[in-house]
Structure formats: structure tokens, C-alpha cells
Amino acid sequence: MADALRRIGPFASRAAPLFWLVVTVAFTFLGLLAITFVIGRVVPIDPVLAVVGDRASRETYEAARLAMGLDDPMIVQFARYVLDVVQGDLGRSVGTGRPVAEDLARVFPATLEMATLGIIIGVVVGVPMGVIAAARQGTWIDQVIRVLGLAGYAIPAFWLGLVGLVIFYAKFRLVGGPGRIDIFMDGMVPVRTGLLLIDSLIAGDMRAFRSAFSHIVLPATILGFFSLAYIARMTRSFMLEQLGQEYIITARVKGAPERVIIWRHAFRPIRVQLITVIGLSYAGLLEGSVMIETVFSWPGIGNYLTTALLNADMNAVLGATLVIGAVFIGINKGSDLLYRLLDPRARA
């Protein structure tokens, strides 16, 4: 197929990589749908029994089975499932009684808010740390990053969340407890964007903003810690690679000040590489928030997913899996694309 495209002409050959990217992304999404479909249909939970109950007569059972289209070939069922999902129909949740898509749209902003604050912390602290560690190799800050990197691999996020709650909430009362906002202010801020920090600012309610901030700061910092460990480590190794290049020696010989060499010469070329790293860890944070949300009773998609898991609410489980998976894939492929567009070396 690639050969055929190449033969069509110069335009096609330039568009070919983009074409293949679209194909891979589409294939990946289809794969995600296939996985959730298989989990939902082939596993030993009878979807008919879930609807009619286990005391239904044989006839009712058969009628329901036919009505649900479960006697169709698997491939037809899969096609119907894909069509449903594309049209935004994820089925109804047994737990909340509402359509899953509606539930997810309601809880998603809470997760987005926490993960975004987390990645901001990770980037703002992690990138300069990595740069400095590379510039002063072997000093204490270099060691700190090694330890942080190891800690990021070895510490369970949910446990760190609990320890954080014990220390900063129970012991020193520095931050708010579980939840998004103090209980007496819950639901008082008019919902505009669903992001509580922004909504309370729009409403001009500083008390609500302070409360929301004191609740989000601990979970977001813990999420940020995990991304910062990764971002700092990657920044350090990218920087070391650049600092070993000959043009850096040239700049040194010319007598450029160290600050200029580090930030202008060495840092600039790695910015594009960092986009991929930041994209990856942002996607990772969405996943990590599942555990953190459970610990902090944060009403986001992770909490929704774990609640549904414990209630065997399969539509909700699969819907949440699908949305998290899709966002994860979207961010990954998006940062990949951005990398290709911005880096002249990748374009050639």
C-alpha cells in the first residue's frame, strides 16, 4: 500500500506518513473498542440475566436475548457496538440509573482539574531540576533526582496519598481533607466549566476558591510528584546528550557564559523532545488519578470507575475504561504528531 501511494506522486509521498499515522490511530482506537467489547461480551457474565433477573421464564429470557441482538454473529454485534460508541451511546449505568456517557461528562472535569494541576507541578519543578542536575553532574541535586526517580518507581501512589493525609491533614491541618471542597460549600458554586478552581473564580467566590484549593493541593502534589520524578530524569538525560555535543564546546571556546550555554544552546533543542515526555506523563497521570481519587474521595472518573467495579456495573466500567483509554491514546498520539511537526529532524 505504501508503494502504491509512493507511485501516485510527490504530494502523496509527502502525505504518506500522515496517512499512516491516521491509520495507526484509527487501528488503535478500534483495538481499544475490541478489547472493551471482548471484556463486555465474552466474559462469563450473562448480560441477559442482568436485564431480566434470574427468575425470568424461559420465554422472557429468549425474547430479551433476541431483543438485545445477542444471537447475531459476533462481528455484527461488534459493528453495532462500535456504531453505538461512535454515536456517544455507552449504555446505562446500573449504579446511577443514568446513561454512562452523561455520568462520564459530569465527572471528567474533576479528574482533568487534578491531573492538569499535577502536570503543571511536574513540569514547573521537574524541568528546571533536570536541567540543573545535568549542568552540575554529580552534585547533591543530581543525587536528589536519582532518589526521586527510584521513589517514583517504588512507592505506591495510593499509599503516599494516605501518608500525606495522615501528615498534612490529620496531624498539621495544613490542607483540606478528602473531597473537592468543604462539605458546607458543596454545590454552592455555579457550574460553568466543571473545574472548581475556575468556576469559583468566575463566581468571584474567594472563600470557595480557597476551600477548593486546600482540597486539591495535596492530591495534585502527589500526582505531580510522580510526573516530576519522570520528567526530571528524562530532562537530565536529554540535557547530558546535548551538553556532550561539539557545538557546546564551540560555544564554550567562544567564551559564552555558562547560563547562556545551558539555557540558550543546550535547552532549546530538547524542548521538542520534552513535549513527548510531558505528553506521556500527562496521560500517565490520568491513569494514576484512579488510585489517588479513591484515596481522596475525589468525585472524578477514577472514583466512578472503582465504584462501578465494586458494583459489577459493567456498562459504567467499560465506558470509563473506554474514555480513559481514548484520552490516553489521544494524548500519546497527539504529542507524537506535535513532535513530528515541530522537529525538523523527524520531518526529514
Binding site: G31, I39, F158, L162, A170, V290, N332
Partner: protein
């Protein structure tokens, strides 16, 4: 020459295959022992093995029975990690939990690593459409969030430790497939492969006897490095109530039980966490050291 002497082991022209293998092994061990952090990691792993093997002798109390008069006691000389809500000694439970953690880690490695190895080796060896299809599937799995996928699988299979192992293994193999394929591609057209093929060896024999053995070391390195992640995922599943079920003393499940008392009796939830951190750290450190020795290419990159 004196068998098993240093010179015999390090001989540049070994006389038998066994001598070559022992020599290689000795070189790896020697290089590893020069890395203090890797030795710390190894010590932790050996400690884990010993604790798991002799849990019943090491633990001062029963992991399942306690007395309710003793419930939620803070750490003391008698119970130096305190007691939980049923009066059970947390230290004894953490010790017995080592068995569960070790079992999960080993089972996942035994299921996922061979699966990934075979998929990767077959894919790289045949190339063409086989490669495209197998790697397409692998990439789909790779671009999925692992924890979420494992959660969904456990939700479908039902909670329990066996299903948790299966779910983690399903999400763990693609990495090994990628590594094995990359490794295979480097020697796919090498002369020794062509030589075996011309002697009439079947594809299965070439893959099994000549391709897979060469992919082993990089896969082993990766599995060791992944152990920490597997432990964290298993503990996470246990924490969410989807992994090991009570009264099993699984560390994640213990943390989950302790959550209810976290604000007043902090030790119930935090103590098992230290065990998780130490063991994961052990695998991380040892894996890093092993990588530096067995797979020096990787070191340059990261």
C-alpha cells in the same frame, strides 16, 4: 588446570561449553558485585525469598488470629507494627504477605515473559505480514493504559488473586514482545541463522534453539525492572478490593482495610506500605544493576 579457579573461569578460550557458561556467569556476578546499589537490591530480594520461605517461623503471631481485646494497639515491644482492627499482629501479617507478593510476581513473570518472547521472536523472525499483524496487536496493547486495562479485566473475570495475576500478565507481555522483536531483527539475517536453516532446521527449531536464547538476557533485564511495577499494580488491585481477598494478608488489601482508621490509627495502613516500598526498591536497584551488566546499550540511552 585447576577446575573452578579464577583463571579457569576467566579463560579466553574455554575448552567446554560448561566452562564458557560458568565463566560468563562468573563475569556477570563479578561485575554486579562491584555495584553497591545492585547488591543492596539483591540483599532485599534474598531477604524477601527467605522471609517468604520461613514466614511461619519468623512471624511471632498467627497472621489470621488475634484477640479483640488487643485491637488497634499502637506499635509496641510486643507488636512492633501494632495490631489491626481484629487484634491481629500487623508485623506477622506483613511477613506472611511476602509469600503472596512473591507468588504474584513469579506467576506474572512466568506467564507474561514467555508469551512476549515467543510473539516477539516469531514476529521478528518471519517479518512481513506476520510481523505487521503481531506488532499491530502488540502496539494496540502498548498504547493502552496498563492499570486501567488490568482493572477492566479483573472486573470482568471477577475479583481474586488468580484473576489479578491473569489481568496483570495480559497487560505486561507487549513490552517483552517489543524487546524480543527488536533483538531478533539485529541478527535475523546473520550467517549463523542462515547456516542452521540450510542444514534443514525447521522454523520452530531455529526460533526455539537459536533466536529465543539470544533474546533472553534483554528480556530478563526488563522483567526484573518491571517487577516493581507488577508489585505496585498487584497492591493497587488489592487496595481496590479486586486482588487478594480478606483474610489473606496481602499488603495492598491490608492498606485498604487500614484506610478506615487512617486518621487515628495510622499504623494499620502505613506499615504494609513500607514493605511494598522496600521490596519494589529492591527489584528496581537490582534491575538497574543487571541492566548495566547485561545490556550496556540501554545504559547509554537512559
Amino acid at each position: 588446570m585447576n577446575v573452578l579457579s579464577r583463571d579457569w573461569l576467566l579463560s579466553e578460550d574455554p575448552e567446554t561449553r560448561a566452562q564458557a557458561k560458568l565463566g560468563q556467569f562468573y563475569r556477570v556476578v563479578r561485575a554486579l558485585s562491584r555495584n553497591p546499589l545492585a547488591m543492596v537490591g539483591l540483599a532485599i530480594i534474598i531477604a524477601l525469598l527467605l522471609v517468604a520461605a520461613f514466614a511461619s517461623w519468623i512471624a511471632p503471631y498467627s497472621p489470621f488470629e488475634g484477640s479483640l481485646q488487643n485491637r488497634l494497639q499502637p506499635p509496641s515491644v510486643a507488636h512492633w507494627m501494632g495490631t489491626d482492627e481484629l487484634g491481629r499482629d500487623i508485623y506477622s501479617r506483613v511477613i506472611h504477605g511476602a509469600r503472596i507478593t512473591l507468588m504474584i510476581v513469579l506467576l506474572v513473570a512466568v506467564i507474561a515473559a514467555p508469551l512476549g518472547l515467543i510473539v516477539g521472536a516469531v514476529s521478528g523472525y518471519f517479518g512481513g505480514w506476520v510481523d505487521r499483524v503481531l506488532m499491530g496487536v502488540t502496539d494496540v496493547f502498548l498504547s493502552m493504559p496498563r492499570l486501567i486495562l488490568a482493572l477492566a479485566f479483573v472486573a470482568a473475570l471477577g475479583p481474586g488473586i488468580e484473576n489479578a495475576v491473569i489481568a496483570i500478565a495480559i497487560t505486561a507481555w507487549p513490552v517483552y514482545a517489543r524487546i524480543a522483536r527488536a533483538e531478533t531483527l539485529t541478527f535475523r539475517t546473520a550467517e549463523f541463522i542462515a547456516a542452521v536453516q540450510m542444514q534443514g532446521a525447521s522454523h520452530a527449531r531455529v526460533i526455539w534453539r537459536h533466536v529465543i536464547p539470544l533474546c533472553l538476557s534483554s528480556t530478563i533485564v526488563r522483567v526484573t525492572l518491571d517487577m516493581a511495577g507488577i508489585i505496585l499494580t498487584a497492591a493497587g488491585l488489592g487496595f481496590l478490593g479486586l486482588g487478594a481477598q480478606p483474610p489473606m494478608p496481602e499488603w495492598g488489601a491490608m492498606i485498604s482495610r487500614g484506610r478506615a482508621f487512617i486518621l487515628d490509627q495510622w499504623w494499620v495502613a502505613t506499615m504494609p506500605g513500607f514493605a511494598i516500598v522496600i521490596v519494589s526498591l529492591g527489584f528496581c536497584l537490582f534491575g538497574d544493576g543487571l541492566r548495566d551488566v547485561l545490556d550496556p546499550k540501554q545504559k547509554v540511552k537512559s
